[in-house]
Symmetry: C2
Subunit: 200 residues, 2 copies
DNA sequence: TATATTATAGATTAATCATTCCATAAAAGT
DNA sequence: ACTTTTATGGAATGATTAATCTATAATATA
C-alpha cells in the first residue's frame, strides 16, 4: 500500500544530514529554528510536519552521527586486532573525522549538547549516553589488553580507561581550536607509547 | 575624594563570584539575564549600572576565574620543580578544582564559551585565548623537559604538548560527566608514566 | 538646606524564540 | 468527479531574550 497525500518536496534523509552538520557545528541551544529553516529551506509547517520538534530532529541527527562518522565501537570491539591496535585505529579514525574539512571540527557528542537550559536536559542526557558508550567500549578494549598481557596485570582498567578517554574527549576541544590532523596524529602516537606492548 | 551618590546596596566582588559560578555551570548562552538577576538578586537597572552588559560581566567573571581557581601557569612555570613535577602538580590541582563539590565541575574556559551565537563570538574568542594560554605554558614546560633531558631529545615538543593538553581539556568533560577526584588522579598517574624520567 | 550624583524598583521595549494555525495545493483511493 | 490524506507557504502565537526608561531614593558636597 503506497503512501497517500501530497508528496514531500524535499529529501528527508538529506535534511537530517544537513541539520546534523548544523547542530554539530553550532550546538543544540545555539541553533535556532530560523537557522534550521534557512539551511533546510523549509517553512515552519513543513519542518514540524516532518520532524515534530527541534528536539526530536536533534535526536535523529545524533543517531545519524553515531550511526555514521561518529561510530567508534566497531574499531574498539574488533577482535581481529590486538587491543592496542584497536585503540590506535579508533583514535586515528576519530582524529580524521574531527579534523576533516568536509564536516565540523570536533565530536558532536562532546560539543553540541554540553550546556542546555532546563527545558532541554534530555539533550544533555542523550549526548552523555553517547559519550558513555565510547568510554565503555574503551574499557572493554583495555580489559582485553590486560587479559592478553599487553598491559600489566596490575593495571587498573577503570583508571587507565579514564586516561585514554580523557584524551579522546580532549581531541574535540583541540580540533575545534584549530589543531590539524597531522598534529593530532602525532599526539596519538605519543599517547600510545604509554601502552606497553611486549608483543609488538 | 570619596565617591558621591547613593551607595551600592550589594557587594560587587561577591556578585562577580556568584555570576562566575553561574556562567561556569550553565555556560554563557544558556545563562539568561533573568538567571543572573535571580542569583544576584538585582533589578535590571542595578545590573546594567554595575556591569554594563551580560557580555561585559562574563568577561569579568572569566578574568576572575583565571586569576583564582583556574590559574595554572604558575604551576607550569615554577622553575623550582622539575618539568615533570610541574606538570604533575598542575594536573593534580586542575583535577581537584574541577571535581570540587564547592564549585561547578570541569573547566569554565572549556565548558562555558564553546558554542556562542553570531552576536557573541567574542566570548568564544576570549575562552579560546584562555585555553591557548594553558597550552603555551605546557609547551614551555615540555621544552624545559627536553632541555633537561627528562624527555628524549627527539621529542617533538608541539605534538607532545598537544598530547598532554588534550588530556587536560578532556578532564573537563569527564568531570562534568561525573568522574571523581580519585578516579581522575589515578588517570593522571597513568598519563605521566608516559613521561620518561631518568632522574626520579 | 540645596544641589549634584549615583542606585534603586519596576514597567517597557523591540527582537527573537519555538511552535501552531489557516488556507491552499498535490497526490492516492473510490 | 469526489473524498481522503498529507504537504505547503505564510501569518500569527505567546513566551522569553537582552537592554532601556522613568521615577524615586540615598548619599556627598557646597
Amino acid at each position: 500500500m503506497a503512501r497517500t497525500g501530497r508528496p514531500r518536496e524535499f529529501d528527508r534523509e538529506k535534511a537530517i544530514e544537513t541539520a546534523m552538520n548544523t547542530f554539530w557545528e553550532k550546538g543544540f541551544e545555539t541553533t535556532s529554528l530560523a537557522d534550521l529553516r534557512t539551511v533546510l529551506n523549509l517553512s515552519s509547517a513543513s519542518f514540524y510536519a516532518a520532524f515534530g520538534s527541534k528536539k526530536a530532529l536533534y535526536e535523529e541527527c545524533l543517531k545519524r552521527y553515531t550511526d555514521t562518522c561518529g561510530e567508534v565501537t566497531s574499531y574498539l570491539d574488533d577482535g581481529s586486532k590486538s587491543p592496542k591496535q584497536a585503540i590506535q585505529s579508533m583514535l586515528r579514525h576519530t582524529v580524521a573525522v574531527q579534523t576533516s574539512s568536509t564536516s565540523p571540527q570536533g565530536c558532536m557528542a562532546v560539543l553540541s549538547g554540553m550546556n542546555c537550559c532546563d527545558d532541554n536536559k534530555e539533550v544533555e542526557t542523550l549526548t552523555f549516553s553517547v559519550r558513555k558508550q565510547t568510554r565503555d567500549a574503551i574499557f572493554r578494549c583495555v580489559t582485553r589488553g590486560i587479559e592478553r598481557g599487553e598491559l600489566a596485570a596490575t593495571t587498573d582498567a577503570e583508571s587507565y580507561t579514564l586516561m585514554l578517554d580523557s584524551f579522546v574527549k580532549g581531541i574535540s576541544i583541540q580540533a575545534k581550536d584549530g589543531a590539524t590532523e597531522e598534529q593530532l596524529l602525532a599526539a596519538v602516537d605519543y599517547l600510545l607509547m604509554n601502552w606497553t606492548s611486549p608483543m609488538n
